[in-house]
Symmetry: C2
Subunit: 222 residues, 2 copies
Amino acid sequence: MRIALLGGTGDIGEGLALRFARDTDHEVLIGSRDPEKARDAVDGYETELDERGHEATVKGFANEMAADRADVVILSVPPYYAGDTVEAVADSLDDETILVTPAVGMKGDEDGMHYHPPGAGSVSELVAQRAPEAVPVVGAYHNLAAGKLADLDVEFDLDTLVVGDNPDANETVRTLTNEIDGLRALEAGPLSNAAEVESVTPLVINIAKYNDEMHDVGVKWV
Amino acid sequence: MRIALLGGTGDIGEGLALRFARDTDHEVLIGSRDPEKARDAVDGYETELDERGHEATVKGFANEMAADRADVVILSVPPYYAGDTVEAVADSLDDETILVTPAVGMKGDEDGMHYHPPGAGSVSELVAQRAPEAVPVVGAYHNLAAGKLADLDVEFDLDTLVVGDNPDANETVRTLTNEIDGLRALEAGPLSNAAEVESVTPLVINIAKYNDEMHDVGVKWV
């Protein structure tokens, strides 16, 4: 399969790109609004993979091109860009393309981070509203420890939750995700269950803030 | 210390009563609106503990009496009774009594459970509003697997998150909680962070609903 990471030049996009490239046989495409930036990121990822003896090919494109070539498009952009990014690549999406959204709306104050969903109820539902109707939208990768994911020297044992209204699309994303070493995808139901999934992201940040021994916190459901 | 479990005759109250009685030296008091019901529950708990060779004493009282005698009062009642229960025992509470609330407001539909907080923002904040001002209020024990907790044959490795505006009270509850075998208490900050903690409860129910191999789901923050 071809997996495109739009906004795949930072944060969770970097970690997913490196892990998909290292642990699976799927083709990884990095998208950015600026294709030059995507190619620069790709150079860095390939160096990291090379240094560890992996010959994985990662390619950089403008977002539209990356989306056009991909079977699974992961919107690893900040929540306030999610809707616009979907509309910018809408012509490259169809019912054969799974659109995956990991973004979460949050607001911080001195006590910590708080869940702050858009009017649609969750970013996942916002993305579904802005995407062409036939495109299956899946929420996933919300509560991952981004730093651990992006550091290929770190082995982890983490869960991620998958929500979406198209069971086949959810299953494809779960299967794909389970190919990453140490990552387990669990099903959490339709998009109407997305808010509870997304709201774990401010919580893991708060746990890291208030417990000295914990950094870059992730979750296991047991 | 004396730990009172108000509404300690069912669900999470049962598990906490049994585990505190088995694993710690603290005195466990069971409260109920009907003291007869509390004493019946106590008989059952003592039988269970006896059968496993534990001589722990658990005592049953009306809620007011249990609260009056306790250093830590755990409100293990349904969310819609939490405020009224606090007011019913208010005269038994003072600045030396820590009031702990594990309740979560939820609403179910065919897709799953959804977080449904009261107007105060969270049940923890509602309890703080309804409690006498001097009483330190701590949110804890929201996301525990109640069935596992109540079955003393089950060994677990679970986390629970503690929120509250009085750091000393939070620390007392964390220390107490860590005395239960297999349970780890983590700090999650002030009461204003309670909503993100409480909203994990509908999520663990949804995870159990959508993953065949998972029942009575709990959480480890890693």
